[in-house]
Amino acid sequence: MTSIETVSDEPEAWFKLDREGGTLSLGGAWTIAESARLDRELGSLDLAGKGDVSIDASKISRLDSAGAWLVLRTRRALEAAGSKVGTFAIPDLYKPLFETLDQERQSEPHKLRIPTGLRGRLYKIGRGTIHAYHQTISMLGYLGRVTVETGEAIASPGHKMRVAAMFHQVEETGINALPIVGLLAFLIGVVLAYQGADQLKRFGAEVFTINLLGVGVLREIGGLITAIIVAGRSGSAFTAQIGSMRVNEEIDAMQTMGLNTIDTLVLPRIIGLVIALPLLTFYSDIMGLIGGAFMCYFQLGITIPVFMRQLAEAVTVNTMLVGLIKAPVFALVIALVGCYEGFQVERNAASVGMLTTRSVVEGIFLVIVMDAAFSVMFSVLGI
């Protein structure tokens, strides 16, 4: 590491307190390069009971504000130790610097705002809890507002729905996500079939791999994996788009022009995703099954017609519908969180990144919580 102390070629700084303690003489280059050493050495100086002291700094060859601060601090320490500082000789060149520093640092030392140690930890936990509480309240409020606005948009006949914006979102979040969702669903099908076959082979029940695959993909995995990808892909995009509009004061501009931000920014995204995600889930289901069929053919030698027959026995249309019915709910959660966090962005660069991360984490978290809630509900209803 390069340090300013090693590159400095100034004459070394020194100080000397004569034996009687009458004069403190200073000399050399009192600069920032020397200040760490001077600080240590001055700290070990015994200042108590020196009586009247005069400071002779006239031999200082170079002085900067760090050095001046050390001189000033030593003078104050002497005064605090009961000495009276009589003459204080400094080169004329550096008088303005001393005057600047001396008048400015008259203020009281302040207390640190954030406590440290155990209290600091408790402070952080407390602050986090309060923050989470406020966050929940405000997100519920936001959900309410979006619901009311949606209701109004549907109820009032003359209302202009932003159809173009909505279909743009369907394209962005649905059609453009086809390659990645398709590939991942296909691979999940492959993995599921492979692992299922491996275990079921022990019981000679390889053919039930298809049941596992059908029920697994259609009821749970297809929808869940799609929702998670979309939360990472589109939820984050919503936050980043709306967030950067906030940083850029575009949201403020819209509001002053009388444009309703929920109506123009949030509804197209929510409705667009609610349309796109079920379609995407259906596509993901099919790709998952194709992946499974592919693996069954190569691993177990099950031909496609046999696969189809077994699949028809294993699952019903209802199995798929149970999976698909969850998709609009997931879409709502992802879009709502994405947009909400976008509006939370403050006017600084770090904020966009932080809230985008938070939007993805919250989106995925809520999707899985919703999925669990659906599982409980379906089992109570006996579906």
Partner: protein, 263 residues
Amino acid sequence: MAEPQQKEKDVVIKVRGLVNGFGNKILHDHIDLDVYRGEVLGVVGGSGTGKSVLLRSIIGLIRPLEGEIEALGHSTLGDIESPEMRKLQMRWGVLFQEGALFSSQTVAENIQVPLREYTSMSQTLMDEIAEMKLAMVGLPPDAGDKFPSELSGGMKKRAGLARALSLDPELLFLDEPTAGLDPISANQFDELIKQLQKSLGLTVFLVTHDIDTLRAITDRIVVLVNKKLVIGTISELRKSDDPWIKDYFSGVRGRAALASEEA
């Protein structure tokens, strides 16, 4: 213009035959510039004439197409992260337009970044120095615990200046220090720079739009017109025939600012 009698002065920044440009648009066409120790040099020019580009190429953020640049006797054309540049960077401070404070750190930590990186000071001394620098730029001590996002625009600039001054540099670069400040804050900031420049013996390279700043604190002014530099004091430049310079100093704003000087 004012060159001959200043020949003997110590040159801290030396620019020779500098060419800067983007794509096929040339911003600077073989310009020469000397900045002397202890002076405040103001750089002005219309929007898009490359004032900030000139500053950025001197501090090594932009590599010019052609030419030589020396600051404090060393070339700044090398790799910006090289050890030679490190040594140079310890001797100058830069205040960027929006302060460029690190948003994840408090103001005091921001000021201590260079101290922590380049010195072996104890934390206590660093805290004291941070507080001293805050006082120097006219910020209250409790500003040190705040994050940049909690500060107003003017306070951010002051905090940025405190960070630029933390290693006690010889050379200070200011990129539009008063842009976006109200006239009173801008005047205070001008006063502050003037006072610091005097007490610390700084050389200041100042890019600005603000004619009041120019009048208040600069010794010489460099005007960027037609990809070239016109150098002189305010009174010399007011006699210039160049239409842009004429407009600049005798427009409504310019006249008002200069009238207060003559009054």
